[in-house]
Structures are given as structure tokens and as C-alpha cells.
């Protein structure tokens, strides 16, 4: 069952189009990875889905519903959460306050959920009262994802969570993502790092705003051409 | 006869402000520089011209008017030096502030202009402090009869307006002008093209400032007396921004049109209001202009930021 689907999306900034009639799909319960080099339009895809920018053409469907152009504050209420690549935490607020803000649209008591998030990212527990901007790169990434988890999302959009992290931290993050997926969260993961293929059920390769290839992680890794150009083999 | 004189005075001031607007157009309209310190260049131009063309006060006058120097130069040299000094100050300011991001540049410029004004106000030795300079030399002032002098001066000012207008229109179509426009559109791309963005901005800052210096000089010789209170932010800076915004940013015709419209509103409303309003209110009536101009600025920036004429399309023909 398709959880998220974009059809023939043309999107960009000002007069510049970044995405050229792009279509892709994320099935429920899967981890889908979008791989591509810098400037291929990966972030634009996520921004278009979440309503940060409106597509010039094409549609975005979530749970079968047309959500094209819905503003971010409303998309957040649909069960989808987005973790941007940069500036993805509230640096001036404490770790705990960041999570509180993640739960902003909840009516109920968010505290049980917050404790769960701390259990999920135990390293953050000691730094509850620390200013988020003072955290190390790895912790910041965990906090960024933690903020998104506060709403108990059905689906997560992650923009290059491995950016600037040491290899062992990258492994940690991907492991956490897989755990989330096993708990039932659909994941749409955008990455430059080919390591992201290892946990993906399905993957797309994006270049110049166009889909270059798609398939299961195995299929893509076995393909010589793709392996050479995109996966650095 | 009175009405004609009124119009002539109006036209002189409107034309002087038109020159200021064209100067601002070089900064903001062409290059995207936020100059909120026009009053500073205004002051420098006015004072330079006044001091360079004045004689050192002697006798009784010397106790009232203190100034650092007086070179007794002819009018045109006064204007020239006004432009030069204004340009120099612009270069200094540019070296200091051009590397700052836009908003900060704007605010810095306000601060610089205010500092210049305060400096002239406090340092009496320079140009008589708060009392300012009087008796500024009028070109051919001894030759032409007072009754007709303004007509002559209007002619002088209009010549400057036309010269500057045509020079700028030529300039903007030159390769140099095109680089400026490119910088305004997309600085990053212009830099990628190998243009030394900083240098171009500095040149633009200097050019616009020189034009403003000329306007300042023309003002000084027209009003024959200047004090630091003239160069305060409202009259010296923001009214010019209103003129350019209303008339058309990026367009010299718009700059001139905007100057005439806003100055008309400014000077005529007082006239009209004083006729309507009871005498007891008379001292406050001039402030209605503040409200009118303020609302004008808000309305135009909110509803029609391009101004009445809007930007010229033809210029970007590559």
C-alpha cells in the first residue's frame, strides 16, 4: 500500500526548476532511500512533500489523500514528520524543550512519549537541561530525530541524517532508523552516503532532478553501471 | 507674481531632491545597496561647498561664526569639491561596511549619517556647530537682481539634473552599468563570473555619493544657510527613500517623478492645511505631512513596491 506518492512533480526556487517531472513512491512499512549526489534535488523533494515549497506542477499524495501544497504546520498533523538536514534543532532551547516543541500540537500529556524518546536515545538523557546548540554533532542528530518522534509519526522524512558524523555514529543512526522501521514507522530516507542502501528495502537514484534508476538495494548494488557512477564502486 | 515665485521655489527644491533620488537610484536601484545614510553625504556635500566657497569671517561676524577655513573659491569648484569629498567619505564607509550583509549595511549607514551630523553639531570649530553657516555664496549673486535670482538658480539646478540624468542613462547601458545590474540580481552569479563584486559596489557607492554631494552643495547655495538640524534622518534620508519608492526604483525618470510628487505633497499640504485649520492649530499643522508621507511610504511599499513607473525593462538587453 502506498504511503507516500509524488507524481510528475516540477519544483524549484524562483525561476529555477530543480525537479523535472519526478515520480516516486514509498510503500507502507518500508524503508525507501533516495540516493544522489550534491545538487541533485534531494532536499527539494522533501521540502516539496512537506509543503515548505509548493510544486509548480504535479501532485503529492499521502495515505491516498492529495496534500499538494499543504503548508508544513498542517502536514505535521497528518502523521508525517520531517527532519531537515541543517538547522534541525532549536539551538537556543534545551534538549528537553526541543522535545517539548516536537510535541507542540499534541493535546495530551507528552511526558510518557518523551521518556520513550529518551530511552530510544539514551545518550540524550544526561543532557536534558543542556542547551541544544552546545551538543556534539551526533547528539544533535539524535535530538533532531527525537523531536520528530514526539508526535508518534507513522512516517519519517529524513534528510541526510549521516551528515558530518563519524562512521560509528553513522552506523548508530542507521541502526536506530531500522529499529524504528521494525516498530512500524515508514521511513523515506534521503542520503548521499551509499551506506544508506544497506538498510533500504527499495531505493531511487536521483541526479539533476530526475530519476536515474530504481530497484531493491540488491539490484542497484549489483548493477555495474550504477555501482560505478553512483555508488563509488 | 507670488504664485510664480512659489512654483519656482518648489521646483528648485524638487529638482535638488531629484538629484538626490538619482543618487539613491545608483545605490539601491542599480546595485541593491541599502543606503540609509543619505543625510551624511548631504551634509558633507553641503558643508564642503559652503566652506570652500566662503570667505573667512572678519570683524564682528567672526565672533558669531566660527569656521575652520574658508577658501573663497568660485561656486562650481565648490560643487566639484562637494562631490569629491562626498565620494571620499563613501569610499571610507564602503571599506568599513560593504562586507556586512544588507540589513546591517542599512543600519550602519544610519549610524554613520547621525554621527556626521552630531560631529558637525558639536565641533564648533569646524563649521560653527549648531548655529551653522550663514551667508553662503550664491553664484552670480551680486550680478543678478534678487527678484529674478531664483529663476536663474532654477536654471542652474535644472542643468545639473539634466546632465546627471543623461550621464546616468549612458552609464547604465555601458558594460559597467550592466555589471551593476547583474550584481543586484544575483551577487553570487556575478562573482562566479569573475567580477570583483566588492570593487563594483564601492564604485557605485562612490558615484551615488558624489551625486548626493552635488545635490547637497546646490542646496547649501540655494538656502544660503545650513545647520546640522537640516541633515536629520527625515529630511535628509527617508524622504528621499519615499521619493524613489513612489516614483520607481531602478528608473531615473521615476526618481525625478517621485521627487516632484513627494515634494509637492510635502510643501503644498502645509500650504493647504494652514488655510483650512484654525489658527490655534497652526504650529502643529506641518506635522500632518509626517503622517501623509508615512502612510504614503507604507502604502507604496506594501502595495506597489516598484513605484509608479517601475523598473525599466529595456536596460537588461545583453
Amino acid at each position: 500500500m502506498s504511503k507516500l506518492r509524488i507524481e510528475n512533480v516540477v519544483s524549484g526556487y524562483g525561476s529555477m526548476d530543480v525537479l523535472h517531472r519526478l515520480s516516486l513512491e514509498v510503500e507502507e512499512g518500508k524503508i525507501v532511500t533516495l540516493l544522489g549526489p550534491n545538487g541533485s534535488g534531494k532536499t527539494t523533494v522533501l521540502r516539496t512533500i512537506f509543503g515548505v515549497i509548493s510544486p509548480k506542477e504535479g501532485k503529492v499524495f499521502y495515505n491516498g489523500q492529495d496534500i499538494t501544497g499543504t503548508p508544513p504546520e498542517n502536514v505535521a498533523r497528518l502523521g508525517m514528520c520531517y527532519v531537515p538536514q541543517e538547522e534541525n534543532i532549536f539551538a537556543a532551547l534545551t534538549v528537553q524543550e526541543n522535545l517539548e516543541m516536537g510535541a507542540f500540537i499534541r493535546d495530551d500529556d507528552f511526558r510518557p512519549r518523551m521518556e520513550l524518546v529518551f530511552e530510544f536515545f539514551p545518550d540524550l538523557t544526561d543532557r536534558r537541561k543542556s542547551r541544544a546548540g552546545d551538543l556534539s554533532g551526533g547528539m544533535r542528530q539524535m535530538l533532531a530525530i527525537g523531536r520528530a518522534l514526539m508526535l508518534n509519526p507513522e512516517m519519517l522524512l529524513l534528510d541526510e541524517p549521516s551528515t558530518g558524523l563519524a562512521p560509528f555514529l553513522v552506523e548508530q543512526i542507521f541502526e536506530r532508523i531500522q529499529t524504528l522501521n521494525k516498530q512500524g514507522v515508514t521511513v523515506f530516507l534521503v542520503e548521499q552516503n551509499a551506506q544508506a542502501l544497506s538498510c533500504a528495502d527499495h531505493a531511487y537514484i536521483l541526479e539533476g532532478g530526475e530519476k536515474r534508476a530504481e530497484g531493491t538495494a540488491q539490484e542497484l548494488m549489483n548493477d555495474e553501471e550504477i555501482g560505478k557512477y553512483y555508488l563509488g564502486r | 507674481m507670488g504664485l510664480l515665485d512659489f512654483f519656482v521655489s518648489f521646483a528648485i527644491m524638487a529638482s535638488i531632491y531629484a538629484i538626490f533620488s538619482m543618487g539613491l537610484n545608483v545605490h539601491w536601484g542599480y546595485t541593491g545597496l541599502l543606503n540609509f545614510g543619505i543625510a551624511g553625504f548631504f551634509a558633507v556635500g553641503a558643508y564642503t561647498s559652503a566652506l570652500f566657497t566662503a570667505k573667512m569671517p572678519t570683524g564682528a561676524l567672526a565672533s558669531f561664526v566660527i569656521q575652520a577655513f574658508g577658501l573663497n573659491m568660485p561656486f562650481l569648484l565648490g560643487v566639484l569639491f562637494a562631490a569629491i569629498f562626498s565620494g571620499l567619505i563613501a569610499v571610507l564607509v564602503g571599506l568599513l561596511t560593504l562586507r556586512l550583509s544588507e540589513g546591517y549595511l542599512a543600519i550602519s549607514a544610519i549610524g554613520i549619517a547621525e554621527t556626521i551630523r552630531i560631529f558637525f553639531n558639536n565641533e564648533r570649530w569646524l563649521a560653527n556647530g549648531a548655529q551653522g553657516l550663514i551667508g553662503i555664496k550664491r553664484p552670480l549673486g551680486d550680478v543678478i537682481a534678487p527678484a529674478y535670482y531664483n529663476y536663474f538658480y532654477l536654471g542652474v539646478v535644472v542643468i545639473f539634473v539634466l546632465l546627471i540624468y543623461f550621464a546616468l542613462e549612458r552609464g547604465i547601458r555601458s558594460p559597467w552599468g550592466r555589471v551593476l545590474r547583474a550584481i543586484r540580481e544575483d551577487e553570487v552569479m556575478a562573482a562566479a563570473d569573475g567580477k570583483n563584486v566588492f570593487l563594483f559596489k564601492l564604485q557605485s557607492l562612490a558615484l551615488g555619493a558624489m551625486i548626493m554631494g552635488i545635490a547637497g552643495s546646490l542646496y547649501a547655495h540655494y538656502s544660503a544657510a545650513i545647520q546640522p538640524s537640516v541633515f536629520e534622518p527625515l529630511f535628509g534620508t527617508f524622504i528621499i527613500w519615499t521619493m524613489l519608492t513612489v516614483g520607481g526604483t531602478g528608473n531615473n525618470k521615476g526618481a525625478i517623478l517621485g521627487a516632484f510628487i513627494v515634494w509637492a505633497l510635502w510643501s503644498w499640504t502645509t500650504f493647504v492645511i494652514l488655510k483650512i485649520v484654525p489658527a490655534s492649530f497652526a504650529t502643529r499643522a506641518p506635522y500632518i505631512r509626517y503622517v501623509i508621507i508615512g502612510i504614503l511610504l507604507v502604502v507604496f511599499t506594501a502595495a506597489r513596491p516598484r513605484g509608479i513607473i517601475g523598473e525599466e525593462r529595456q536596460v537588461s538587453r545583453f
Binding site: V52, P71, P72, E73, A76, R77, P84, E86, E87, N88, I89, F90, A91, A92, L93, E97, E100, M101, F104, I105, G137, R140, L151 | L96, T97, L100, S101, G103, Y104, A106, I107, S108, I110, G111, I112, E114, T115, I118, N121, N122, P233, L234, F238, W241, T283, R284, Y287, I288, Y290, V291, I292, I293, G294, I295, L296, L297, V298, T301, A302, P305
Partner: protein, 302 residues
């Protein structure tokens, strides 16, 4: 020297109050509000209006305890703040919201705020004229503190109200959900939207808070010295400098910045003519912009 420092703190407290609203709006909407100084002026004059009316009602005309102002003025804080908030929110809805909708450049809003400042000042001139006004003509009682410091009783009131307001703002921003959301919004507007926070609704709170603080700052300044229509302009450069010093969107920074500016300006009077004070503010601002443009507490992410 000590007196200069004490007076600097008094003035700094007032600047700090004004700076908080300015930095909040700047952090959330990218608008650097040039009308902020004139809004402070408006607050002061509103209190003059309401205070004057209230003081005519019998005993309300009497001075409050050891202070120079009347009960009428004290009560007038409330209507003055209310109108100030209403004005701030109204201008935002009428002017800036339109610009946000049409995706206008922040420069456009900056220029519009200049128009607002101008119009506001014009109204004040028209209604009250250009002369000075005072809240009261009574004697200003003094208090003698150790180390030979002389303070007016009014100044003690000012400090209590200023820092009481600051404490209240801190509690609001630090302990309430709305307050935290405002801070989040000021820190990272995009992420706040992504988290589901409704920017327009929050902006009403932000402008409301700004409106409250400028009114209090204005009235306190009026108690300290006198009222005149130009006073907003006197404030503007120190406000700008305080906010830039403190960093965009940082409340703590704005408060610290306000104090620093107040002190710096007063200390400068030891060797410069007082009319140079705005120049001092400007120099501080320029130094910060050149050497540490993010401000002391500025946004520091990756």
C-alpha cells in the same frame, strides 16, 4: 563615576525592555522594526493621556507614596499597555502580514516600518505638539544610598518595574508552552513550522508582548525624564545596537545588550559631550558587526 554607572543601569534597564520586543520580532519575522522607538514614545504619551484623565478623579491625582507620579498615572499603565498592544497587532495585521503573504523581501518591510514610524510620530506631534510634557511637576524625592550614591525614589520604582517585567517575561518565555514556542520560532522559524507551530497565531503573541514592553519602557522613560515626540528616535540607535550586540532572536542577549548600551552611553559622558551618545551606540554596533556579527549570544548552530 559611580553615579554615572548607576544612572547607566537605570537607562540600560529601559533600553533592555525595548530591546526584547525588537529582537523577538526580528528573530521570528526578519523584520527590523524601525517603528519600535516611536512605539515606545506612543506608550509614554498614551499614559500621559490616560493618566491625565484619571488624575482628575479625586484622590487619584495625589502622588503615590514617595514617588513623583500620581495614582492616576500608575493606573494608566493598564490602558496604555492595552492600546499599545492593540496598535502593534493592528499594524502587523494591516501591513506586515500582507508582506509575509506576498513573500516580500525583508527590506520592503523594513522600509514600510520607517513609514509607520513616521506616521506614528506625526500623530503624536499633531495631538500633543512639539513641546515637552511631564507626568508631574512635583518635587523629585531623593534617596541616599551608601557610597554616596544619590537616587531618585522614582528611579527605584523604575528599576523594580523594569526588572520585574523582565522577570515576568522570563517566566512567560521559559515556563509556558506559548513562551517556549515563541523562543523556538525566534530561534528557527522553519523548524517551528515543520513542528506544526502556527506562525501567524504566534505572531499575535509576539507583537502583543512587544506592545506591552514598549509601553512599559516608554512610561518608565517618561517618569525618568520628560516626554517629547522625538524621544523614539533617541532610542532607536541604542535599541538597534543592543539587539545586534545580543544576537538575533536572543532574549538574554537583548537584555544584556540593553544594559551594556545604557552603561556605555552614560560612561561616555565622562569624556564626551552628551549629544555624542547616539554615536557611541553606533560605534558599538559597528564594532560588533565587524568583529562578531552574530552577536554575543547569537544563533549558533552547526
Amino acid at each position: 563615576m559611580l553615579e554615572v554607572i548607576v544612572y547607566g543601569i537605570v537607562l540600560g534597564s529601559i533600553i533592555a525592555l525595548g530591546s526584547v520586543g525588537l529582537t523577538l520580532i526580528w528573530g521570528i519575522t526578519e523584520l527590523f522594526n524601525c517603528a519600535h522607538g516611536d512605539q515606545i514614545t506612543a506608550g509614554a504619551y498614551l499614559a500621559l493621556l490616560f493618566g491625565g484623565l484619571l488624575s482628575r478623579i479625586g484622590p487619584l491625582g495625589n502622588p503615590v507614596g514617595p514617588f513623583s507620579f500620581s495614582w492616576g498615572l500608575l493606573i494608566s499603565f493598564i490602558p496604555a499597555i492595552a492600546v499599545s498592544i492593540g496598535l502593534a497587532v493592528l499594524v502587523d495585521r494591516l501591513v506586515y502580514k500582507r508582506m509575509r503573504r506576498s513573500g516580500a523581501h525583508f527590506i520592503t518591510a523594513f522600509i514600510a516600518s520607517i513609514g509607520v514610524a513616521w506616521a506614528l510620530r506625526g500623530f503624536i506631534y499633531i495631538i500633543w505638539g512639539a513641546d515637552f510634557h511631564f507626568y508631574s511637576q512635583g518635587l523629585r524625592a531623593m534617596v541616599f544610598l551608601p557610597a554616596g550614591i544619590k537616587l531618585r525614589t522614582d528611579e527605584i520604582f523604575i528599576m523594580i518595574v523594569a526588572w520585574g517585567s523582565v522577570a515576568a517575561v522570563y517566566l512567560f518565555l521559559g515556563r509556558t508552552k506559548t513562551g517556549k514556542a515563541l523562543r523556538a520560532l525566534a530561534d528557527n522559524p522553519n523548524l517551528a513550522r515543520v513542528s506544526g507551530i502556527n506562525v501567524e497565531r504566534m505572531l499575535i503573541w509576539a507583537w502583543g508582548l512587544a506592545g506591552l514592553l514598549v509601553a512599559v519602557a516608554g512610561i518608565l522613560y517618561g517618569i525618568e525624564t520628560q516626554l517629547r515626540p522625538e524621544m523614539g528616535w533617541i532610542f532607536l540607535l541604542p535599541l538597534f545596537a543592543a539587539v545586534i550586540l545580543g544576537g538575533k532572536g536572543s532574549i538574554t542577549g537583548a537584555l544584556a545588550g540593553g544594559l551594556v548600551l545604557g552603561l556605555a552611553q552614560q560612561v561616555s559622558t565622562l569624556f564626551l559631550v552628551p549629544t555624542y551618545k547616539p554615536a557611541v551606540a553606533f560605534i558599538i554596533m559597528i564594532l560588533v558587526l565587524i568583529f562578531r556579527p552574530k552577536g554575543i549570544f547569537g544563533r549558533r548552530t552547526a
